[in-house]
Each structure stands twice: as structure tokens, then as C-alpha cells.
């Protein structure tokens, strides 16, 4: 251990938290750190709404006949769960919360390039959320999160318009965040911080931002077409007037498949910070891991067709999409191998963030491998629209992204709050989440392989044991998520005070005090070497 982690304790120094304590000082703030916290509060509330919907679904699925809620209600539950978790939790989770908080500090900058635009994007997020909550309280929506036409445009009798408008609006929040991150990364780096000295979290946020700005506008215009068709009765996707409902699916997945990578790349970035920090070792193959983020972002735009293998597509197109989907596995595997190689002969310690990181590697690998099953045409025909698909993408999005979000939240919590969370409770929660998650979703792989279709409120009696196991797992998972909510709030007041660099991290955010001053650094840091260098220590002075 060569790094001297001297905590520069200056208890009376002004921090970004003490710079103003009124509601006004928060609601009109342009400080990227405060905006990150505003996002944190909002997406946590949305997560609760989406979680309540999931709870009712799992309760309904306890018995084959359902019966707890009406079938129409069940349709609304999985729709709300999907819409909220995708657009109002996962997509903003790591970028808008942790990215907003950490990115400018990792770059040695005083703020993002456009602080007012950053605040505007939070208000846009809020406006979109209100549309969604209005949908929920006035009767819900039952189209599924994919809004497939012609059901969404002609037959559904639920609140389609307010939902699609809500998602359309929240898209602008994503676009503006992506735009801000791209410009910030290009133009706001501290002296000496070249591209290949950037922490890998920055690389992954950059790749994510590319997807956000390129894909989201296509979703926006597609949802507007659906809204107009439904509102004014003009049939742009209506076959009776020569429209093509499949075209909707192409446009939707042209956004939504890249969006899957919006929901995993930032998680990979967090893991790339956690693994070296808690192994006290330079990340193995830095250049490859950085390049893999960009490769995933690019390849992610070329594989949307694999969502439509059974929807009607020429054999040649299907073969090409299948091949390209396999290709995505290469950069993903590069990351997994490099993280694992970093652990080898490292001084590994198992603090809470590291437990999440190790859990991530296992869960992401499982989710990624089953993605290869789905990319192969013959297997996909067998398991399309079954619980196998549900399990696959929950392993990526919950097992991957939410796990990484939790890991990152614990890792940067001392920086955010200036306090340590209780370590033993943290470890307990991490293990509870890992166990609960696997118990919830592993049975769903089996259910799907046996043929249980998704989006039904009932099932044949022989599937009951696995469904009960899954619901039991969901209860454990709920406890696992409730624990951090409780102890993190507790730690705000009672947690042990954190020093500037409690983990011995090497990236620039650890060179400033915890919590940081309003403009992050006393003076702009000069960067002399790359990250994760445990011989030379932190990147800046």
C-alpha cells in the first residue's frame, strides 16, 4: 500500500451541500452535483412505483388461476412496470445520477459544459414523470412497454396518449444529458488529461451519450406518429390505408435495442472503477476496455432486427441480424475477461461496492450468455415471448445495471454525502440482493424454456412451484433494496465522517474533499498519468 490517503479534514470549509439549504437553492441549482441528487430522489420515487407494480404481478402469479387482480389490470401492471423501469429509472439511473455527480470531477472540471441545460433536463424528466403518474392514477395503460401497433393505435382503450407523450418528453431529458456529457468530455478536461488517461467510467458514459443522442430522436418521432394516429385517427401504421405495422417495430427497436446498451454500458463503467480500486491493481487491458465501450455502442445500432425474428422478416435479413448480434458478445466478453484478469494477483478486499462488482460479473455473464441463445434463430423461435426472455433481460438490467448502480452508489456515497454507510449492513444488503435476485429470476429461465409465455396473468398448474420460488425471491429482493434505502438515509446524519479518499481511489474525484466544494476543486488539477496507477497514486496533485 503505497498511496498515502491523507484526509484533508477542514470541517468548516464550505461544501456544495452547505452552499445553500433552502428549497430554492436546490430547485434553481446549476451545480451538477446537486442535479445528480435531484435525479437520485426522483428516480428512487419512480423505482418505487415500478416496484409496486412488480409486487402485484408476483403476487398474482403465486397461483395458476391468478385472481388477485383482473386480467386487464395485470396487463396494466406489466406495462407500467416496464415503461417506468426502462425510461424513468434504468436509463437515467447511472448516467443522470452518478454520471452527473462524478463526470465533471473525474475530468477535473468545475461543472458540465452547460449547467443550465443540465437543470432543464431534470425539469423535463419531471414533466415526463408527471405524465406517467397521471396515466397511472387515471386508469393506466395496457399496451406493454413496446406500444406495438395496431393495438396501441386502434384497439387499446387505456391511456396510450399520455404515456407515449410522457416517454416522448422524457426522451429530451436523455438527449440533453447525452449532449452535455459529450461536450463536457471533449472540451472540459483538465490539463494533461488526454483521452487515454480518462477513467473508464468516462469512456462508458461517452459511449452511452453517443447512443442517447443518436437513438432517442428516432423513438421520439415514432411515438409522435403513434400519438397522432391514435389522436386524430390518421392511419400511418394502419394496414387498411396501406400502412405497415412492422415498420413501427423496426423504428421502435432501432431505438430500443441501442437503449439496452444505454442500460448496461454505464454499469460496465462503474464496474471498471470498482474492480481496480478494490484490487489495488491497474485495470488489465485499459485500451481494450475503453474501445469495447465504443464497439458496443456502434454494434448496438446494427442488431435491432433480432427482436423481430418471429414478426416477419426475410431469412437473409434474419441471418445477418443473428450474426451481428453474436458480434456484440465479443466486446462484452473482452470486458468480463479483463475485469477477471485484473483480480488475478490483486490485493482484493471485499467492501460492499466490491461485492456488488463481483456479483455484477456473474450476473452479467449469465444474462449475456443467454442473450446468445436468443440471438440464434432456431432457439429464438422456441423461446420468443417466454419467461426465458424475461429472465435474460432482467439478468442484464437488474442483475447488471441495478447491481452496478448500487455498487457505484456505495462507492461514491462518501463523496456525495461526506459520510460512510455502515459497512456490515452494506455487505448484508449486497448479499441479500444477490440471493433474492437469483431466486427470483433463475426459475424464470426454466419456466421460459418449458414454454411459459410472458404477459399472461395465469399459467398451467405444473408451473406453480417455480412461480412460487420466483415470488419468494422477489420478497427477499425487496428486503435487499429496502435496507440501503434505510441505512443510507440513516448515515446522512449518523454515519462516520468520510475522508477525502476512503477507498484509496486514483481518479480525480478522490483528490478533493468529501463532500466537495461548490466548484469541485480548490485549483484545477494538473494530470500527469493515467488512472489506476497504484504506484504513482492519484491522477492529479
Amino acid at each position: 500500500m503505497i498511496v498515502a490517503t491523507v484526509a484533508l479534514e477542514r470541517p468548516h470549509a464550505e461544501t456544495y451541500l452547505s452552499a445553500g439549504t433552502t428549497a430554492r437553492s436546490w430547485l434553481l441549482t446549476t451545480d451538477h452535483k446537486r442535479i445528480g441528487i435531484l435525479y437520485m430522489v426522483s428516480i428512487t420515487l419512480m423505482f418505487l412505483v415500478g416496484g409496486v407494480a412488480a409486487t402485484f404481478m408476483r403476487i398474482t402469479l403465486l397461483s395458476p388461476g391468478g385472481g388477485v387482480v383482473a386480467m386487464e389490470t395485470y396487463n396494466k401492471l406489466f406495462t407500467i412496470h416496464g415503461v417506468i423501469m426502462v425510461w424513468f429509472f434504468l436509463i437515467p439511473s447511472i448516467p443522470s445520477v452518478l454520471g452527473n455527480f462524478v463526470l465533471p470531477m473525474m475530468l477535473g472540471a468545475r461543472d458540465v459544459a452547460f449547467p443550465r441545460l443540465n437543470l432543464a433536463s431534470w425539469y423535463i424528466f419531471l414533466a415526463g414523470s408527471l405524465f406517467l403518474l397521471w396515466t397511472v392514477v387515471t386508469g393506466g395503460v395496457d399496451t406493454g412497454w413496446t406500444f406495438y401497433t395496431p393495438y396501441s393505435t386502434q384497439y387499446a382503450t387505456s391511456r396510450v396518449v399520455s404515456t407515449t407523450l410522457g416517454v416522448f418528453i422524457v426522451g429530451f431529458s436523455s438527449i440533453l444529458t447525452g449532449l452535455n456529457f459529450i461536450v463536457t468530455t471533449h472540451r472540459m478536461r483538465a490539463p494533461g488529461l488526454t483521452w487515454f488517461r480518462l477513467p473508464l467510467f468516462v469512456w462508458s458514459l461517452y459511449a452511452t451519450s453517443l447512443i442517447l443522442v443518436l437513438a432517442t430522436p428516432v423513438l421520439g418521432i415514432t411515438l409522435i406518429l403513434v400519438t397522432i394516429e391514435r389522436w386524430l385517427g390518421i392511419g400511418i401504421f394502419d394496414p387498411a390505408l396501406g400502412g405497415d405495422p412492422l415498420l413501427f417495430q423496426h423504428l421502435f427497436w432501432f431505438y430500443s435495442h441501442p437503449a439496452v446498451y444505454i442500460m448496461i454500458l454505464p454499469g460496465m463503467g462503474v464496474i471498471s472503477e470498482l474492480i481496480p480500486t478494490f484490487s489495488r491493481k491497474r485495470l488489465f487491458g485499459y485500451t481494450f476496455v475503453a474501445g469495447a465501450s465504443i464497439a458496443i455502442a456502434v454494434l448496438g445500432f446494427l442488431v435491432w432486427g433480432h427482436h423481430m425474428f418471429t414478426a416477419g422478416m426475410s431469412t437473409h435479413a434474419a441471418l445477418v441480424f443473428s450474426m451481428l448480434s453474436y458480434l456484440v458478445a465479443i466486446p462484452s466478453a473482452i470486458k468480463v475477461f479483463n475485469w477477471t484478469a485484473t483480480l488475478y494477483r490483486g490485493a482484493v478486499s471485499f467492501e460492499t461496492p466490491m461485492l456488488y462488482a463481483i456479483g455484477f460479473i456473474g450476473l452479467f455473464t449469465t444474462g449475456g450468455m443467454t442473450g446468445l441463445f436468443l440471438a440464434s434463430l432456431a432457439v429464438d423461435v422456441h423461446v420468443t415471448d417466454t419467461y426465458f426472455v424475461i429472465a435474460h433481460f432482467h439478468y442484464i438490467m437488474v442483475g447488471g445495471m441495478v447491481t452496478a448502480y448500487m455498487g457505484g452508489l456505495h462507492y461514491w456515497w462518501p463523496k456525495i454525502s461526506g459520510r460512510m454507510y455502515p459497512e456490515n449492513l452494506g455487505r448484508l444488503a449486497a448479499m441479500t440482493i444477490f440471493l433474492g435476485f437469483n431466486l427470483t429470476f433463475f426459475p424464470q429461465y426454466i419456466l421460459g424454456y418449458l414454454g411459459m409465455p410472458r404477459r399472461y396473468a395465469g399459467y398451467p398448474p405444473e408451473f406453480q412451484v417455480l412461480n412460487v420460488l420466483s415470488t419468494a425471491g422477489a420478497s427477499i429482493l425487496a428486503v435487499g433494496y429496502a435496507l440501503p434505502l434505510a441505512y443510507l438515509l440513516w448515515s446522512l446524519r449518523y454515519g462516520e465522517r468520510a475522508g477525502a479518499n476512503p477507498w484509496g481511489g486514483t481518479t480525480l474525484e478522490w483528490t478533493t474533499s468529501s463532500p466537495p466544494p461548490e466548484h469541485n476543486f480548490e485549483h484545477t488539477p494538473i494530470v500527469t498519468h493515467g488512472p489506476y496507477d497504484y504506484v504513482r497514486g492519484p491522477q492529479g496533485d
Binding site: V112, V183, H186, T216, V218, I234
Partner: protein, 216 residues
């Protein structure tokens, strides 16, 4: 004292080290925004391409209902406005306030002329009953797919007109700021980035015009 106020007005925002960094950030931000605009219109261009391929006769029929002369005049008007906008940016770079004001005003004026002509075209389509859902009264051949053609026509030229309206508003804002002597040879970033936006709106029209009016 007056000098200090002028200097303050041109101090960089607190997150930037200097005005050069601030201008480069603003320009890059606008370029990224323009990319999102291309993707937004790109979705509609994709729909157009697919439907033109599916319903070729209806799209040929559709182009016969376009007011070719009005469209051609509008194309000339927008290209002229690109020229005046480019001139305005050039005047701003040289700190020539009077020239800047003149070219900004002509740019906004040309934008308004375009919107007026476009509104006239919309009105004549409405009179012919060619507006889907308003109601659609066309009874000739290919009535179903022709609705798709006209829906796309209104969606794409309408989205373009919305962007142009925003552009006219932004250029008007620049006129107000220029009158207050806010721009100098050292600081004229808003003129440059709004100029970029204006040119993109023009380029999009240069694609819309042949797709709807010319090819048949």
C-alpha cells in the same frame, strides 16, 4: 468604469477557463444537437422511403397535387436566407454591427416569406380535401395510400415549418441582442451557433423539395 462593464459582460461563464473554450463548447453542443435533429427527421425519411417503395403509384399521384411554383419559389427563398445568414455571421465576426443587423433582419424576413407561402399551400390542399382526417374527401385513384403520402407531406414539411418558426424567433432574439450591442468581434457565439441551426433547416428543405415536388 464603462470598460470594466464591457469586460465583465464578456467574461466566460464560471465553468469555463476562457471565452475560446466557451465558444468551442457552444459550437460543439450545437453540432451534437444538429445530429439529433438529423436523426429526428431521419425517422420520417425512413417512413417516406418505405412507403414510397410500397405504394409507388400513389406517391407519383401525390406529387401531381403539389404547387410546384410555390415550392420552387420557397426553395429559392430559403437558399437566399442561408446566404444572408452566412453574411450575418461574417459581419458578426468582423464586429460590424450595422451589417449584422441588416443581414439578420433579411434572414428573418425571408423565413417569414417562406412560412407565408407554405401556409398558402396548406390552405389550398385543405380546399382540395387533401388533409388526412380533416376530413379526407379525395375520391380519385389510390385514395388509401395517398393519405399516407399526404400525412407524410404534412408531418415532414410541418415539422420543418415548426423548426423554421423557432429559427425566426431565435434570429429575432439575435436582432434584439445586437441592437443592445451585445456582440463584438471577440464575442458573437450565439450568432454562430444559431447560424448553424439555420443552415441545417435549409438543408432539410433542400431534401424535402425534390422528394415531394419533383420526383414522380
Amino acid at each position: 468604469m464603462a470598460n470594466i462593464r464591457v469586460a465583465d459582460r464578456h467574461a466566460p461563464a464560471p465553468q469555463f477557463d476562457d471565452l475560446v473554450q466557451q465558444r468551442e463548447a457552444a459550437a460543439l453542443g450545437m453540432w451534437v444537437f444538429l445530429v439529433t435533429e438529423v436523426m429526428l427527421f431521419g425517422g420520417l425519411f425512413t417512413v417516406y422511403t418505405v412507403y414510397r417503395w410500397l405504394h409507388h403509384p400513389a406517391f407519383v399521384e401525390g406529387s401531381h397535387h403539389m404547387a410546384l411554383i410555390a415550392g420552387a419559389v420557397n426553395t429559392a427563398v430559403l437558399i437566399a436566407s442561408s446566404f444572408t445568414m452566412a453574411q450575418a455571421v461574417q459581419r458578426a465576426q468582423r464586429g460590424l454591427r450595422r451589417g449584422l443587423l441588416g443581414f439578420l433582419a433579411s434572414t428573418a424576413l425571408l423565413g417569414v416569406v417562406f412560412l407565408g407561402l407554405k401556409a398558402y399551400e396548406y390552405w389550398s390542399h385543405y380546399a382540395e380535401g387533401l388533409v388526412p382526417g380533416s376530413p379526407w374527401t379525395y375520391a380519385g385513384p389510390h385514395s388509401g395510400p395517398l393519405q399516407s403520402f399526404f400525412f407524410l407531406y404534412f408531418a415532414m414539411t410541418g415539422l420543418h415549418a415548426v423548426h423554421l418558426t423557432v429559427g425566426v424567433g431565435l434570429v429575432t432574439g439575435l436582432i434584439v441582442l445586437a441592437r443592445r450591442r451585445r456582440f463584438t468581434a471577440a464575442y458573437h457565439t450565439p450568432v454562430e451557433v444559431i447560424g448553424l441551426y439555420w443552415h441545417l433547416i435549409d438543408v432539410i428543405w433542400v431534401f424535402l423539395f425534390p422528394l415531394f415536388y419533383l420526383i414522380g
